[in-house]
Symmetry: C2
Subunit: 181 residues, 2 copies
Amino acid sequence: NVAHGLAWSFYLGYLQLLLPCLEDSIIAFCATHQASSPLWGRGSKKLFILIPLDTNIPDKLEEVDDNIRFYDNLPNKELNRAGIQGRVYKHSVYRVHDEHGRGHDCVVEYATPLLTLYRMSQDRGAGFGEPERRQQVLLFYRTLQEILGQSLECRNRYRLIMLNDERKDDPHFLSKAILGH
Amino acid sequence: NVAHGLAWSFYLGYLQLLLPCLEDSIIAFCATHQASSPLWGRGSKKLFILIPLDTNIPDKLEEVDDNIRFYDNLPNKELNRAGIQGRVYKHSVYRVHDEHGRGHDCVVEYATPLLTLYRMSQDRGAGFGEPERRQQVLLFYRTLQEILGQSLECRNRYRLIMLNDERKDDPHFLSKAILGH
Ligand SMILES: Nc1nc(=O)c2ncn([C@@H]3O[C@@H]4COP(=O)(O)O[C@H]5[C@@H](O)[C@H](n6cnc7c(N)ncnc76)O[C@@H]5COP(=O)(O)O[C@@H]3[C@@H]4O)c2[nH]1
């Protein structure tokens, strides 16, 4: 089951490494970005992880919703990993406007392993079609919820946001989904 | 089958993105690192990917074999991916000495997804023990060979180096394995 392994990989090779120090990273960011500091809502100093059911993932969030603008990146984290010296891990901060035009800053990104699910369903060699893909996204979501739920060091440092298919007609679907959490 | 998904993820999320432009990156590196330029053997401008059967992966290659020294990193590649703006991808160049003390420069790293296999076998929640882990490494290797073998854009731009278990007693096992290719 591909999604099971991808969820474990996402946790062991990324979330477990970065979530524990995320809040400190955001606090350091606010110190150097004074304009941003008041725009972090209560409970928003977490990683918002977007999980689109259709695995349709843009490279930039602003492509999907013009109420979302890239603001800046958090400070880089560099780790020596498996022979790569100073491998760089970073998150992007976005300013998300609500229906009243108020800005809210947050750290948000898509769950990158879903790109693999999408590309596998496109590649005939991977033995994996679109009907299985939807099931695998749900399995990825459930497995990740389970792993993170058991993780003391990651507790309360993330929000999983499942994006359903009904969104196609609302140009502000994504900003609403992010702010709704 | 965890290894099947990890091999596809490694290809679709990393090798497919970077191997096509690796040679250009090495050529640019040699232009700015004159001392390195003569040390690239014929057929060595590829990514050497280490696949240890026991998934025992150090963060730095020099920890394993003192005939190997970190030299420098190739120029960074930055891509916008899934909401991360300017995600950084890099490879490390190592100087590897042979039994006659001659230096050979090459781009080498461990297959990072094997770290996930190792950590899963340690975590009781992952449902995955050491006997399965060995089978999964072999499956990862075979699947990756198959995927890369079919990939026109990655052809001849990599070397998969399987590291067996008999190495434990030879302090220069790794440098010999790399140079033997
Ligand atoms: N958003 C995001 N930013 C990151 O920096 C990052 N680094 C990893 N991941 C995701 O976590 C999981 C575990 O990563 P791992 O390193 O074991 O496998 C990685 C790794 O073996 C290789 N790879 C990807 N990026 C790099 C990189 N920069 N350097 C070396 N190897 C890399 O290709 C695999 C798949 O990568 P992604 O498909 O981008 O998603 C990964 C994966 O789902 C990231 N996700």
